[in-house]
């Protein structure tokens, strides 16, 4: 799988900016952004990204619900998803990993190593 287009989903604009700089400047990927679950689903259906970086705690539709809906979209069932979360308790991490994602990046993340971390998780 070649990675070129990443959908970045986070309700915090500041975090989106930091991650976008890292992903595009350092990773060399095309980044599209969504600020909520519904927005993410719409973008995902239209753009069919190669990867979704999905925040877990969002107002309204949270990350796990967004993931579930994404899997129900035509073409959305196979898109790799990596969660980003500020909840780092082990039980919570285990629960999230059991939902069918490729991996999990805890917040705060280091933007300098984020692209490397993504490649490591995807095994590319």
């Amino acid at each position: 799988m070649t990675l070129s287009k990443i959908l970045l989903v986070d309700d915090e604009a500041d975090i989106r900016l930091v991650a976008e700089i890292s992903l595009s400047n350092l990773g060399g990927w095309q980044v599209i952004q969504a600020a909520s679950g519904p927005e993410a689903l719409e973008l995902a259906a239209r753009e069919l990204p190669d990867l979704v970086l999905l925040d877990v705690m969002m107002p309204g539709m949270d990350g796990p619900t967004t993931l579930l809906r994404l899997r129900g979209l035509a073409g959305g069932e196979a898109i790799p998803v990596i969660f980003m979360t500020a909840k780092v308790q082990r039980a919570e991490i285990d629960r999230l990993l059991s939902l069918g994602v490729r991996g999990l990046i805890p917040k705060p993340f280091d933007p300098m190593t984020l692209p490397h971390e993504i490649r490591r998780i995807l095994g590319a």
Binding site: I15, A19, I21, A86, R90, K107, P108, F109, M112
Partner: protein, 561 residues
């Protein structure tokens, strides 16, 4: 007239008299029968059963005309008690002891007196059985013998009476203490259930009845775990105990008593099921009841309702978790922005700014570590650590920790070395522990050791057997050592060794407290050996499951076999 002499052991004699609790009690038929018999046998108009008190003689029974009591000083019986044997006065007017005695000179006109002493089982003459007449006379040998026999009868009647009184008192005390015990049990805000060794319920207190919704009579005689315990929980616990004790524990009453049956203490959280099917959490403490020979005669289950405590804990842990998340979100932006600037991802940073950006980024990292540690500690303190106990190889654990910390050691020019017990080559022991948590402890000790090491210094990790029944993991550094006055606070919260070296200040001060809590949860011990100027060795020991004990652990046992 002579007043009766006082016996040498008078205080003891009076105490013995009081013991019978006979003085000033109403007449009793049995004693009246005895005096009537005495009068009849001796052919006298008067017969008395006299108790010689400190100042008076008092008559328990009085046959014929006589006052209820008289002064001891003018009593005939006082003399008889002093003598302690049969006393006969054929004619009081001719006996110097009684000349001028008011009983003789007064309207009673006593002339004749004969008595047999009433002697208690412990040898005190308490009084007499006596007969009197208004004319001088004597008793025949048969009459004397009969009088003595009646005296002995009177005394044995008194002993019997005493025993019955004492018995009644003991029974009353027993009843009172049983009542008190019952009242205490019933007013206690604990559910208390007592069982036979086979788990059949013997009794339960009022709180147990109220909380569980059963009446004692409905459950006494039935087996406990089937009634109050959740089947699922019982099975989980049985499996855990099988693991912990290294032998099969059935998911039945055996689960509840597995530990106390081995002489261990057992206090833990359980769920109780009420008659109505409601569930509530309890802190259950189990005690084995033993007889004098040490045989188990039953078990006591004392439970307190911890619903409220759990709610508070849940609220606290939720609060900590929310706060931690809320702090992390802005920190993600800060840490990310600083990282991008420091890493040059958004253009070159002016040299003057580099150091400041680095400071900001390093301190943000420290803040994140602090939040992680506080979260850990809050979890540990609310008992929510929930270790995932699995068999693991201690040497592999050490190797992993050393590999993980290598980057930090290289940066600070510290050499790492590690070794494991040479006797393990054939058979390395399997430790039962939470891999991630033990790794956390070891990495914490290693990072502390690296921080205090001088450049070029070495940090040595050793994994070895401790007496065969535990594994000891130690981390030795060549740092400055720890002064004695710091030792007591070392494993406390927010404690950091005074140091001018910035490297040692980058920690949170919670690492050792967390490490200690994790080791404690594994029933292990953690400690330090240190000498100022010569470095320190931090170590911890985790007990091995019994089936992993090395032969060295019971060498003595093997030799004896």
């Amino acid at each position: 007239m002579k007043t009766p002499p006082i016996p040498r052991d008078e205080p003891q004699r009076l105490a013995a008299l009081r013991r019978y609790e006979l003085l000033d009690t109403p007449p009793e038929k049995v004693y009246d029968d005895l005096t009537r018999l005495a009068a009849h046998v001796c052919q006298t108009p008067i017969a008395l059963m006299s108790m010689v008190d400190a100042e008076r003689q008092w008559f328990k029974s009085c046959f014929g005309p006589f006052p209820a009591e008289t002064d001891r000083s003018c009593s005939f019986c006082g003399h008889a008690v002093f003598a302690g044997e049969l006393l006969m006065v054929p004619d009081a007017t001719r006996d110097e002891r009684f000349i001028g005695n008011p009983l003789v000179t007064g309207e009673l006109e006593i002339r004749f007196y004969a008595s047999t002493p009433l002697v208690s089982y412990d040898g005190y003459a308490l009084g007499t059985l006596c007969v009197m007449d208004r004319r001088p006379r004597e008793l025949s040998p048969q009459q004397i013998e009969m009088l003595s026999a009646l005296g002995r009868l009177a005394m044995s009647q008194m002993e019997l009476r005493l025993r019955i009184t004492e018995q009644a008192r003991i029974e009353r005390q027993l009843a009172e203490s049983a009542e008190l015990r019952r009242a205490i049990l019933d007013s206690a805000n604990y559910s208390i259930i007592s069982c036979r060794p086979d788990g059949v319920i013997r009794a339960m207190n009022a709180a147990a009845e109220r909380w569980l919704g059963y009446r004692s009579e409905d459950v006494v005689g039935k087996k406990t775990p089937e009634i109050f315990h959740d089947r699922c929980e019982l099975e989980q616990r049985a499996a855990a105990l099988t693991n912990e004790l290294g032998r099969p524990v059935a998911a039945s009453f055996a689960t509840l008593i597995a530990k106390v049956g081995l002489g261990l203490t057992d206090e833990r959280e359980w769920t109780y099921l009420t008659a109505a099917g409601r569930r509530f959490p309890v802190q259950l403490s189990t005690t084995a009841l033993c007889d004098a020979a040490g045989r188990i005669t039953g078990f006591l289950f004392i439970a307190s309702d911890i619903t409220e405590r759990q709610q508070v804990e849940l609220a606290k842990s939720e609060f900590v978790s929310v706060v931690s998340h809320e702090l992390r979100t802005p920190l993600t932006s800060i840490r990310g922005s600083l990282g991008l600037i420091e890493g040059g991802a958004v253009g070159e940073v002016p040299p003057k700014m580099v150091r400041l950006i680095e400071i900001a980024r390093a301190n943000t990292d420290r803040l994140v570590r602090l939040i992680n540690d506080i979260l850990d500690l809050a979890k540990i303190e609310s008992g929510k650590l929930e270790l995932q106990m699995l068999p693991l190889d201690p040497a592999a654990l050490a190797a992993e920790a050393v590999a993980e910390i290598k980057g930090m050691a290289d940066q600070l020019h510290v050499r790492l070395a590690w070794s494991s017990d040479p006797s393990w080559i054939d058979h390395p022991p399997r430790l039962l522990g939470d891999r991630d948590r033990l790794l956390q402890v070891l990495i914490n000790l290693l990072s502390n050791a690296i921080k205090v090491s001088p450049p070029g210094g070495a940090v040595e990790t050793r994994v070895e057997s401790a007496g065969g029944a535990s594994v000891r993991i130690s981390v030795h550094d060549e740092g400055p050592g720890i002064p004695p006055h710091e030792l007591s606070r070392l494993f406390g919260k927010f404690h950091q060794i005074d140091s001018s070296d910035a490297r040692s200040r980058s920690g949170t001060g919670l690492g050792l407290a967390i490490s200690k809590a994790i080791v404690d949860e594994h029933r292990g011990t953690i400690g330090i050996e240190t000498e100022e100027g010569k470095g320190s060795t931090f170590w911890f020991e985790i007990p091995l499951p019994p089936d992993e004990w090395a032969p060295a652990a019971d060498d003595a046992g093997l030799a004896a076999r």
